[in-house]
Amino acid sequence: MSPTDNAKTVGVLGAGTMGVGIAVTIARAGHRVKVRDLTTEGYERGLANVADFLDKSVELGKLEAERRDVALAGLSGTTDLADLAECDVVVEAIFEDEGLKAKTFGELDEICREDALFHTNTSTLSVTAIAAGSRLPGRVVGTHYCNPAPMMKLVEVARGQRTSDEAYTASVRFLESLDKRVVTTADVPGFLVNRYLVPFENDCIRALEAGLGTVESIDTVVTKGLRYPMGTFRLLDIVGLDIHKAVSTSLYDRLRDPRFAPPPLVDRMISAGQLGRKTGEGFYTYADRKLMGT
């Protein structure tokens, strides 16, 4: 078994958590996937993680063995951007750095066909700014997958200032072929999910600092009153206070809206090494810190 004729060839840049999740999502929909990472070890580990995920899906009865075999047959890895020449779509999921992402699309201009779509999986940067790295910014579309990408139904599609209607429409069609629910947003900082989540989290931290409630009472309000799936402080401990600060600061720098500014308590906790589950202590303490390490 191998991918069908109408399968696309898709390059995924970056074999980290998001790159692997995106590769799984695209491969199991029957498309050929080439994972590119800076090192051979990097993409090999990524491919192994993709295969593990697909195997587990088959074991759990969530994926037919035949579809896994198709996905694995179409899966390959490389360190060389030039190997992405035949790609119909390239999805970048590399380090969250505007200059690096823009430069990479510029390099891909020299390699890929002119009708290839360039997708950026940024969560907080400007799609327009990243697209400016390509001589054909019309083909660049923001496609923000949620983590874990194979499990989360939502993809936010952000149109940059110069994204063409054709690229937008083709991208939505492609994402729907992955069985995703697409929402379309303007190229605004944080798109929708992070734009609403991050300041809400900061408001909860400020409420804590202001003595309006305790870690436990605020989480109770969030889970029992608002019926959100997890308390804000539980969630922040999983995300990591350092990551929260980076995302929050990045959004604040672009928006200058005080709700996005990380409250001082975040800095104090980072200074004290209370980063959340990964250090065994955040808003809550975790006895099983070894299990939580990465």
Binding site: C146, V183, A186, V188, L192, V193, P199, F200, D203, S217
Partner: protein
Amino acid sequence: MATEIKAVGVCGFGTMGAGIVQVCAEAGLDVVVLEASEERLTLGRERLGAFIEGGIKRGKVTEADRDALLGRIRGVLDVAELGACDLVVEAVVEQAEVKAELLAQIAGVVREDCLIATNTSALSVTELANAVPGPERFAGLHFFNPVPLMELVEVVEALQSSEQTLAALEELGRRIGKHPVRVKDRPGFLLNRVLMPYLNQVVQDYDDEIASAEDIDAALRLGLGYPMGALELLDVIGLDVHRHATEAAYEQTRTPSLSPPPLLGRMVAAGRLGRKSGRGFYDYEEDPR
């Protein structure tokens, strides 16, 4: 505060009042509900009946349960009938003078050790406490709509509230199946303090055409696992109700994120209040949700 709460008085048989009456009666408490007229008592009973009928249809409540429950509820028109209550909760219109006058009347007929609580969401509990002689027995008991389904209740600490009063209200909250959370008497207390800026932000973004209502709500449900998107939720709350609450909190704090976005005022002016008027961010007449 030696007495165990056995009989609860509820003032006001509107949406919130009916919900409070229901959860208290379901927990086996005797409930006396005070209204201003026979007609309003009848409306309240209908409101309560409709909610319980829904429970019977879904097989969650039997008809015998309902009859027993209704048997524990007594509607009255005279405040003096609240005299034997161990706790009286007022859930009348959100106007400080109206509430203050009623609270004074209640205090005039109940025992000295009767607890008195307000279900206000927008007024200062500390200010209302001034209307009650012996204000240490007074506090806020802030329920959420729909009361029978929402598991949270905020126990709001007025500056005058005694520890026993707050502990007794928390105990009552647990007894009626809620998670009580003790909060300070600040504008918006706790839940609304963190909810309202988020709702205001989404409304402004919608007005700025960052995304469609459907896509915003889908992002919140699917991306964050929220039970409802912000705009769907506002249609349930009522845009007039939200606007009033966030305006009140803004007036007291001058915090910009609590200031109601201009679109709310325009929608209220146009009669688009949400589900109750048939249209808000969504149209419920053409497309009943």
